[in-house]
């Protein structure tokens, strides 16, 4: 106990702002992890509860948590806004549907084993897309990703092997009603964990630093010896893979794939909205954004099913987020807490600081 007091006093002796910021940052990180664990526990509760409606909300939320986290690996870290990740989502969805039917894969866990293939096809598609799109910078890049998205939607609607507008049926699972959603929940949870692990390791790596250098100043990063083209392409492909897997899982969960739903422009914008809502470039932000917004959207769709209304709510929410919290919930909250702590520390005189220490030790 006395050691911790000494440590606290040592921190107080250091330049106050810096020490407080560091400590606050660590504590905010810890509390965020706790918040996410809590949210997952709530989702888990929904699943265990046995209410099928709630269970499917949880599965959709997890699919989007994985997708937004993956999108964030490219767009969040590199600062390049990609609005075409539905291409990879749809590619994954069609992969599982087409391969599942053509190879006569027995429905059940065997189809789940195809999920990595969805990641591979999405990654393969991402290479040429990235090679073309990443020749351009910033806002041109955004427009190109939108254009590429519409190419894929048109192809999926009109090519023979995708089944046109009637879509493709995914092998039907014979799992009983009571375990169906639960099993999908666990697979989706595993995907989220894997994607977050990927995002976290990228963030902590040299590769992640290079990406963030590109975000801050691309010319400078290149001047410092970052091979920007290669790094950007690698991040783009890396972020496509989990989105493809999520698309495959989503298709299997729904049972059928249509061009309009698999290649959905709203998916593109949803990733950006959820990312910005939570805070892009962070680990927790995309998770939080997807968890809150996708759960809400699924809930509203189940509750009201009014088709126009949720578009209005969605768009308005997006406007509010961008105008009021352009950096997202997580960074805004972190800054808010930090400034609150600095303010409190700055205003406090010696005795109250001592009282604080006493409180900590007791």
């Amino acid at each position: 106990v006395s050691a911790s007091v000494a440590a606290d006093e040592g921190a107080a002796a250091a330049p106050p702002g810096e020490a407080l910021a560091g400590g606050a940052g660590r504590r905010i990180g810890a509390s965020l992890v706790a918040a996410i664990a809590l949210a997952l526990a709530i989702l888990f509760g929904l699943v265990e509860n046995g209410n099928q409606g709630n269970m499917s909300i949880a599965v959709f939320a997890l699919i989007f948590m994985a997708s937004v986290s993956a999108w964030n690996i490219f767009s969040g870290y590199s600062g390049y806004l990609a609005l075409g990740h539905a291409v990879f989502f749809g590619t994954g969805a069609y992969t599982i549907a087409l391969i599942g039917t053509d190879w006569h894969v027995p429905a059940g866990w065997a189809v789940m084993a195809l999920l990595p293939v969805c990641g591979v096809t999405a990654g393969l598609v991402a290479i040429p897309v990235g090679l073309v799109a990443l020749r351009t910078r910033r806002h041109t890049f955004v427009v190109v990703t939108i254009g590429v998205f519409f190419i894929f939607q048109t192809l999926a609607t009109n090519l023979a092997f995708t089944g046109g507008t009637t879509g493709v049926q995914v092998p039907f699972v014979s799992w009983s009603f009571s375990v169906f959603n639960q099993r999908f929940y666990y697979v989706a949870l595993a995907l989220v964990v894997a994607t977050v692990a990927l995002s976290w390791s990228v963030r902590r790596s040299r590769f992640g630093l290079q990406l963030m250098a590109i975000r801050d100043d691309e010319e400078r990063a290149r001047g410092m010896g970052v091979r920007t083209a290669r790094v950007k392409l690698a991040a783009f492909v890396l972020s496509a893979i989990p989105v493809g897997i999520a698309g495959g899982l989503w298709a299997y969960f729904l049972g059928s794939v249509y061009p309009q739903s698999a290649f959905d422009p709203l998916f593109d914008i949803a990733l950006a909205l959820m990312g910005f809502f939570g805070g892009i470039g962070t680990i927790a932000g995309p998770l939080l954004g997807a968890l809150v917004l996708e759960s809400l959207q699924q809930y509203f769709t189940q509750k009201f099913s009014a088709n126009g209304l949720y578009l209005i709510v969605y768009g308005s929410l997006f406007l509010v987020v961008i105008l009021l919290m352009p950096r997202g919930i997580v960074p805004s909250a972190a800054q808010w807490i930090r400034s609150w702590r600095t303010q409190r520390a700055g205003g406090a005189s010696k005795p109250t600081a001592g009282a604080d220490v006493a409180q900590v030790t007791s």
Binding site: H139, T140, I151, N307, G315, L319
Partner: protein
């Protein structure tokens, strides 16, 4: 493909290209003035079509006369977009943010239209919409001719406004250098606001012709915006003349593909154009200004 069929496709392409040129010119103008990519331009065209629909079906107002009401309404929407949102974005990442904001606008417009009109397809009708005139060997729908004439007149008007008036000079000055324009006494904020208003107001006219030539529903905005973006990218963002040339070129090409191959693939002409241009000249067709901004 018969020779006459090909010629007819080319004529149709030129006539519809004029209307697309008008809509793309609005998009290009907004980009040129503010560095904003208005993703909602497609949804706004559809909104314009619905406004014309309401006026003609419920109030019995002629489509062209109705533009006197819908164009100012769309102008007001553009002013709101600039004043309420664009102005509040930080200068540094305004372009990227504007894409998100206008995308949200597009979604809201789509939602409102779906809520009011459902997602059924509608079509504008008037005596001149269903008639066609017989010239040489070809039957030309009257609405195509009227639409082209109106688009040409409005584009001409825009040209005069930009290059022959004081407002136009101020606009071009604030486009070249904001600070310098400020210093010589141009009210840059107001100029920009009016420019965005004009850029959006043209969608009322474009939307009316669009709604009279094809069936539309609240979803149609997506198809439109991808075509408009392709036109604007090919023509060079911010260049109104470029938008006109590339609109006509792309629509003629798309119509030829539709006749020679299948209407299904004609839309790919637009996307292929984007990819081709960008893989050959990533910055080239964007003009020097955009390159410097990057």
């Amino acid at each position: 493909v018969s020779f006459d069929g090909l010629i007819e496709a080319i004529i149709d392409g030129v006539l519809t290209g004029g209307v697309y040129a008008l809509m793309a010119a609005g998009l290009s103008l907004i980009f040129g003035v503010l560095n904003i990519i208005n993703i909602a331009q497609g949804a706004m065209v559809v909104l314009g079509a619905y406004l014309s629909y309401v006026l003609s079906v419920h109030l019995g107002i002629d489509l062209f006369v109705g533009l006197l009401i819908t164009a100012p309404a769309m102008f007001a929407l553009g002013v709101l977009l600039e004043w309420g949102f664009m102005r509040r974005l930080r200068e540094g990442d305004r372009t990227a943010m504007s894409i998100l904001v206008t995308y949200a606008f597009a979604i809201i417009i789509e939602g409102v239209l779906t809520k009011i009109f459902s997602s059924d397809y509608r079509e504008l009708s008037a005596p001149y919409v269903n008639n066609s005139v017989h010239i040489l060997n070809f039957y030309l729908p009257v609405i195509y001719l009227l639409g082209f004439a109106m688009a040409a007149a409005l584009l001409g008007g825009l040209y005069l406004l930009f290059f022959r008036t004081k407002f136009g000079r101020g606009l071009r000055a604030s486009l070249q250098n904001r600070t310098a324009a400020d210093l010589i006494g141009i009210n840059v904020d107001r100029t920009r606001m009016i420019a965005v208003g004009i850029g959006v107001a043209v969608t009322a006219c474009g939307g009316m012709v669009y709604g009279a030539t094809v069936a539309f529903n609240p979803d149609s905005g997506y198809d439109l915006i991808s075509r408009l973006l392709a036109i604007v990218i090919l023509g060079g963002m911010g260049s109104i003349g470029g938008a006109m040339v590339s609109a006509v070129a792309l629509l003629v090409l798309a119509d030829i593909v539709a006749v020679a191959w299948s209407p299904v693939w004609s839309v790919l002409v637009f996307y292929a154009a984007i990819l081709l241009v960008l893989s050959l000249r990533p910055n080239g067709l964007f003009g020097a200004r955009a390159v410097r901004a990057q």
